[in-house]
């Protein structure tokens, strides 16, 4: 049986008119590759073969996230933070860390969005042609969710996390106009919320007060809307701690500013993370704690636990990771 197999490129009609949407010769188009006719002993020459489609593997549009929870019990984690706070970097760094090995007791158990992760991590790879690790900023219209299944070697428990990688601009709608925000549905069904704070901005004297004020307002809205609660405290994630030189006075400032936000949230915990190499915390710092919080069946009693940076360094040094 012959079949007309469309090109996977959106809006490409090559299977109908033979023209590549990118203007390439079909024999050289990487998307059409493999869809050209094959001549085999069993087939007539020049026929297209039937293909069994795979899922796209890319990020799933936030409003279509239901497809991920059809066959499995998922837990939605809202990763929130202002633009350029490092949301995509954090999620990508978690994925890259699994390429190096397990994270504490957590092992990679699968992902329906492997290509979505790969695409987000590409700018951090040498093959991109760039000279500095960076991840793509999440555009407003492309809010997507990623799937990451992990299992805990100690307990044997598996968790399918749906990570809502939403744009900072949409997040702004939530705290400025929670009644009409486009992202409220996914926020309301999130079982965990991670609010990201950029450590570099927390020590910038011109930026820190406004950042803390906005973040505190968001933390309060999340609590008032019952998105966070005693059972589901907000997780304040301080990113880019790789930039903070060890034992510098800036650490005290970061801790103080972070505490202001956790206090505004009523129930919150905090974790300090580093995704890249720098003078501060080592890459991967805080990831195990993050996964602990995201996968825990019920979180521990509410605390205002702001780990001392000095203690955080001790922890990583003791593990030989520093």
């Amino acid at each position: 049986m012959s079949a007309t197999v469309p090109c996977p490129q959106p809006e490409c009609k090559a299977h109908e008119d033979g023209k590549c949407i990118e203007g390439l010769d079909l024999s050289t188009c990487p998307h059409w590759k493999g869809r050209t006719a094959h001549s085999t002993p069993d087939d007539e020459p020049g026929r297209l073969e039937d293909l069994v489609d795979w899922p796209s593997g890319k990020g799933v549009a936030a409003e279509e996230r239901g497809v991920l929870s059809r066959a499995r019990q998922t837990r939605t984690v809202l990763v929130a933070g202002e633009p350029f706070t490092g949301k995509t970097t954090l999620i990508g760094a978690l994925y890259i860390a699994f390429h190096r090995g397990s994270i504490g007791p957590f092992r990679f158990a699968g992902s329906e969005t492997l290509l979505g992760f790969e695409e987000r991590c590409f700018r951090a790879r040498l093959a991109s042609g760039g000279s500095s690790a960076e991840t793509a900023h999440t555009p407003v219209k492309q809010s997507t969710v990623l799937h990451l299944a992990i299992d805990n070697m100690n307990t044997g428990a598996r968790k399918d996390l749906v990570l809502a990688d939403i744009s900072g601009e949409l997040l702004k709608e939530i705290y400025e106009s929670p009644g009409t925000a486009r992202m409220m549905p996914i926020a309301l069904e999130s079982e965990r919320v991670a609010l990201l704070l950029d450590a570099r901005r927390l020590v910038d004297k011109r930026q820190r007060h406004a950042l803390v004020a906005r973040s505190s307002q968001l933390a309060r809205v999340l609590y008032e809307k019952r998105i966070t609660s005693t059972e589901r405290p907000l997780l304040v994630v301080v990113t880019k701690c790789d930039f903070l030189p060890q034992e510098s006075a800036e650490w005290d400032e970061v801790r103080n500013q972070t505490q202001k936000v956790t206090e505004a949230a009523t129930f919150a915990t905090s974790v300090f993370t580093a995704a890249r190499r720098g003078p501060g915390l080592p890459p991967g710092a805080g990831f195990e704690e993050l996964l602990n919080q995201w996968t825990a069946p019920t979180l521990t009693a509410p605390t205002l636990r702001t780990a001392s940076p000095a203690r955080a360094f001790d922890l990583y040094d003791a593990r030989g990771e520093g």
């Binding site: 492997l114 951090a124 093959a127």
Partner: protein, 294 residues
């Protein structure tokens, strides 16, 4: 007679066809304690042609996308024991790489993945890791550390702006993914296509094992160190994919190593293959397939 179909999967040039060439020759000569050939099949032309290349120390030509071959062998797990039809579809590596990159594979590959009782997953010697920019910078710094002349010691501060970076010049495509991402996604697709109640035994075969033998790692440990994502996936999904790892060198060594080739020329061809399992080493090429019959 019961038919056991084995899916032989792996990316291009991962050693699948060379394995078949050597397997056929050694099975024919009854040199495998774990699996014996019950009778010569009616049509053995393809396997014979492959084994002739292997016997002549030629690099066995890999299966192209246009050639679809399937081999049906009658084998027994012990002399006089029950006989099985062993079907070995020789699928091209492009079938699997295209599956990942183009998000679709041919129906006959899909059918094999659904109906197989065992999966021989080949990991070739060319492993694409996709180095991170940070790691490259770190290595470069170790080779040539930044100059410190004692007068211009520079204290890094948290608010300091990083140097202006070069914008990535290449557009991402799925083919920029590391090898282990491909292999995990192939397993995930197989998992999607099979009924959940039918686990699939997997033999992960690290080919060209002669390259890794001096590392003194077992194949399992090698997999854990070299392909951590794949290893974690297999460990996490061991109920769905019960698995074992083997190190296999069907050639017995690198044909570009003249001294090794001279040694191989003096050997009985059946003794050329190297098969590592756990801490043991043998010439039994059927070992990675034998447990599919247990």
């Amino acid at each position: 007679m019961e038919t056991r179909r084995i899916l032989i999967a792996g990316l291009p040039e991962s050693g699948k066809t060379t394995f078949l060439a050597a397997l056929w020759h050694t099975l024919k000569h009854g040199k495998h304690p774990s699996l014996q050939l019950a009778r010569i099949p009616d049509n053995a032309a393809y396997l014979t042609s492959l084994s002739m290349q292997w016997l002549s120390f030629e690099v066995v030509k890999h299966t192209t996308h246009e050639t679809k071959r399937s081999t049906l062998l009658q084998v027994e797990t012990m002399p006089g024991g029950p006989t099985f039809d062993l079907e070995l579809p020789d699928l091209s590596g492009e079938s699997f790489s295209n599956g990942f990159e183009l998000r679709g594979w041919e129906t006959h590959v899909s059918e094999s993945s659904c109906t197989s009782t065992g999966l021989a997953l080949f990991v070739g010697p060319k492993i694409v890791d996709m180095m991170l920019i940070d790691d490259a910078i770190n290595i470069a710094d170790k080779i040539a550390p930044p100059i410190d002349d004692g007068n211009t010691t520079h204290q890094v501060t948290a608010t300091e702006k990083p140097q202006k970076a070069t914008t990535p010049s290449k557009k991402w495509s799925a083919s920029d993914s590391p090898t282990q991402t491909y292999l995990v996604d192939i397993l995930q697709q197989i998992s999607r296509e099979r009924p959940r109640y039918r686990p699939l035994r997997v033999s992960v075969i690290a080919s060209a094992w002669d390259k890794w033998m001096n590392s003194s790692l077992t194949p399992e440990k090698w997999l854990e160190r070299t392909m951590p994502l794949l290893w974690q996936y297999l460990e996490s999904n061991s109920a769905r994919f019960p698995w074992k790892a083997y190190g296999v060198s069907a050639q017995g060594g690198d044909y570009l190593n003249a001294e090794r080739v001279r040694q191989l020329e003096e050997m009985d061809p059946c003794e050329r293959p190297i098969v590592a399992s756990g801490t043991g080493v043998s010439n039994d090429l059927a070992l990675p397939l034998a447990w599919f019959f247990e």
